[in-house]
């Protein structure tokens, strides 16, 4: 098996810039190494030699190459407590800000879209039960939506294998899951019942509108797969689904800067999130 020569820093920058323009993914210095690895992998698999030839191949999106390239960064297998820095941001900052905007008795609404097979919305629920002091006094609605109804059906069942639970401590597994066969666990009924699953295609306003207004939306690693036009309308639909002052969290390599100018950037200790400007006042003051 021949080794592909590592790409130069300049070539790496060129491909990162292309990917940013095409998908909205931002690869900082720290992540460039992984891009390098991915390029080498793909060139090896495809048997393409000079970098420029592969770059032209990628740009032409032959055989869905952009999606294949990007898949390595979105880690298609989902698991509980993935990107927990965003969950920390949720319980440490985002919800506390949103609570101040709610009327008494009004529920906080959190949307996980796409929710795939449910790991993300259930993670949010478990995290809040474990980490948010207000969880006992504040009503929270957690909704998980996906375009794939087989996924949402599976999410409703709430059954997972060991890999999905790998980041949860044994205590958490004990508390929130019951064994359901060899190496399988099922989310306890109380938790299953507290998360709602349904379908949504975020590029269609008629579908996103059905789900109401949210305080926080998690929309991770899906906008990067859309073309420009679909991405823009999806961002508009998500904006519309957010309460003024509400927050949206993207995947850790994604940046709203390439996607839509509608949102303000907010920097918190644990994450960069995007905010629909609050009604009336000025949004977007940085906390950093």
């Amino acid at each position: 098996m021949s080794e592909v020569e590592p790409v130069s820093e300049e070539e790496l920058r060129a491909i990162c810039e292309f990917l940013y323009r095409r998908t909205g993914m931002l690869f900082g210095e720290a992540k460039r190494y992984y891009v390098q690895r991915r390029i080498s992998d793909r060139m090896n698999i495809l048997g393409i030699a000079p970098f420029l030839t592969y770059f032209a191949y990628l740009r032409s999106d032959a055989d869905g190459e952009i999606e294949k390239f990007v898949n390595a960064f979105t880690v298609n297998e989902t698991y509980f407590y993935r990107e927990d820095h965003q969950l920390r941001c949720l319980s440490s900052h985002l919800l506390n800000e949103r609570v101040r905007a709610k009327r008494p008795g009004e529920a906080l609404r959190i949307w996980s879209v796409p929710c795939a097979t449910g790991e993300e919305p259930y993670s949010i629920a478990i995290w809040l039960l474990e980490n948010w002091p207000e969880v006992d006094v504040q009503d929270i609605e957690i909704i998980g939506s996906d375009i794939d109804t087989q996924c949402t059906a599976a999410a409703g069942e709430g059954e997972y294998g060991a890999r999905a639970l790998m980041r949860l401590s044994p205590q958490l597994v004990e508390k929130y899951f019951v064994p359901a066969g060899k190496d399988r666990w099922r989310v306890v009924p109380e938790l299953r019942q507290s998360v709602q699953f349904n379908s949504a295609n975020i590029t269609k306003a008629s579908e996103t509108r059905q789900h109401g207004i949210f305080d926080v939306i998690f929309c991770r690693n899906v906008l990067i797969y859309f073309d420009d036009a679909s991405r823009r309308v999806a961002a508009e639909n998500l904006f519309e689904a957010l309460a003024p002052g509400g927050f949206i969290c993207l995947g850790h390599t994604e940046s709203m800067s390439r996607i839509s100018p509608l949102f303000d950037v907010r920097r918190f200790p644990d994450a960069i999130v995007y905010q629909r400007p609050p009604a009336g006042g000025k949004g977007g003051r940085s906390d950093g």
Partner: protein, 129 residues
Amino acid sequence: MAETESKRILVVDDASLVRRYYRDALERAGFEVDEALNGVEALEKLLTEPADLLIVDVNMPQMDGFTFLRSLRRQAPSIASIPALVISTEAGPHDRRAARSAGANFYLVKPVAQDALVQHVAIMCGLPA
């Protein structure tokens, strides 16, 4: 060169070759250089790691240089106070005034020679030119 090595410059321009041109000159002079393709990306980067100086192109898509500067000046003081060198294709006094009122500290007109850029940056960073 120890003094320049601690200075971090963020270059904000949508054209990769322009960024590369400035980076090339500044790195050779010992500065640390980071790049942003547009104003929003620049703000996100600054929120994570502030810079000592900004080089900003006026004519950028999505968020033009002046809009970016005005937005920058509204941020927290650690970011709002970062000096900005604005680079433009326009040479008129009206354009310079517009840049100043948007928050630019210095204004250069393209084409900018690499050594002229380094000189201006050094001066703005309070270093010997």
